[in-house]
Point group: C2
DNA sequence: AACTGTGAAGTTTTTCACAGCC
DNA sequence: GGCTGTGAAAAACTTCACAGTT
């Protein structure tokens, strides 16, 4: 009974919306709600109800006709789809202002991620505390990442160092990189990169202003 | 000679790529390059050359056949299109860890944005220094934003306060919001929101991991 | 009565491929 | 020979609208 077949061709754009749905569902649950509908969810998110239904239908029937979706069940299912029904260990590279802010951000742990190490190449920073962690030498990174089988990393170093850091992370086995440096990374297939560049977001909006 | 007509129906997805092009072009310029091609740019960004050409063609012919694009000229043109051929004053709301990191981020000023005020409602924080700025009381926000005609703001407060903050910013005249809080905002038409939620980006990648 | 799941229709976005220019 | 700009074709994505279920 092949019930655990992974549907192989889900559009990436659909995957990208699932975390948004999950976030909204978690919020609904916190508000004490037990059931919701594609319509309600869509209203909150500014997305059409049809789109939400179609997105979810890629993974099976999570809802009940006439009733809607049971929130806790849908949350569990989405977590499973996104593979955050487990906790991912994450390496953080860069212990500057940005690295500190990322390391101290409380929002990771309850959503599937745990920063387990911080690396920097500045000898003045090595050994310093960052949150509950101690900054490790950049030279130890590859061995550490490999040894702990870390697959997810965040890059918070200056743009000029980001590609080097990415190359080393990938060499050590990292497969998913969240890049805070304002530069596009070249990575081999099978490695995934997401970008956080606040200026890009701002520039995207000013186009629409007078 | 109506040369300054604004092409009215450019897809948003195209607008969203322009800041990426701009970032790559700026980097090429820093490397001392003077000319590039849609092919080269595409390689660097992992985007097809045809797409880059088509995107740019929405705004006029920026390139030369046989030659490519003159980098400094294209940068100027893109800045104009994105309306960052000027400097936008930005209000920052929230002076916690995240607010501090945002305020201290060096990358805004040379890319069109300047943080001119930081607001928080925690009386322990009001009056404190954040970078070169002093934290102002949240109660002064509306008047300040209105008086200085601020159109762009960043929200770095806890999720539970984000909608309230957004409402007040909008009331004061803000039209573009970069929201760091992990929650979807409801805003009227004519107001633009972009989101930065690192966890959403991470969750989007783990789907593809084993 | 309310709501899902889904083929089919409609729309948007991307890619193709080539004429035209340097 | 190399490259842009662009119609036309292809692919991807969203919405429609409704049968079917609770």
């Amino acid at each position: 009974m092949p019930s655990n077949i992974v549907p192989s061709n889900i559009p990436d754009i659909v995957i990208g919306r699932l975390p948004i749905y999950l976030r909204a569902l978690t919020r609904l649950e916190q508000e004490g709600r037990e059931v919701t509908s594609s319509h309600e969810l869509g209203q909150r998110l500014g997305i059409s109800s049809a789109q939400i239904r179609k997105d979810l239908s890629h993974f099976g029937g999570f809802g009940k006709q006439g009733t809607g979706y049971q929130i806790s069940y849908l949350i569990d299912q989405l977590k499973q789809v996104l593979k955050i029904d487990r906790e991912w260990d994450v390496a953080l590279v860069g212990a500057g202002d940005l690295g500190h802010a990322v390391a101290n951000y409380r929002g990771f742990s309850d959503r599937g991620f745990r920063i387990v190490a911080v690396f920097d190449n500045d000898s003045a920073k090595i050994g310093q505390a960052v949150g509950k962690l101690t900054v490790r030498a950049f030279s130890e990174m590859e061995a550490f990442v490999r040894e702990h089988n870390i697959k997810v990393a965040m890059i918070a170093v200056p743009a000029q160092n980001a590609q080097d850091v990415a190359d080393q992370l990938i060499k050590a086995g990292v497969r998913a990189i969240l890049n805070y440096a304002p530069i596009s990374l070249n990575v081999p297939t099978g490695v995934y990169v997401q970008y956080i560049d606040p200026v890009v977001h701002l520039q995207r909006m000013t186009y629409y202003l007078d």
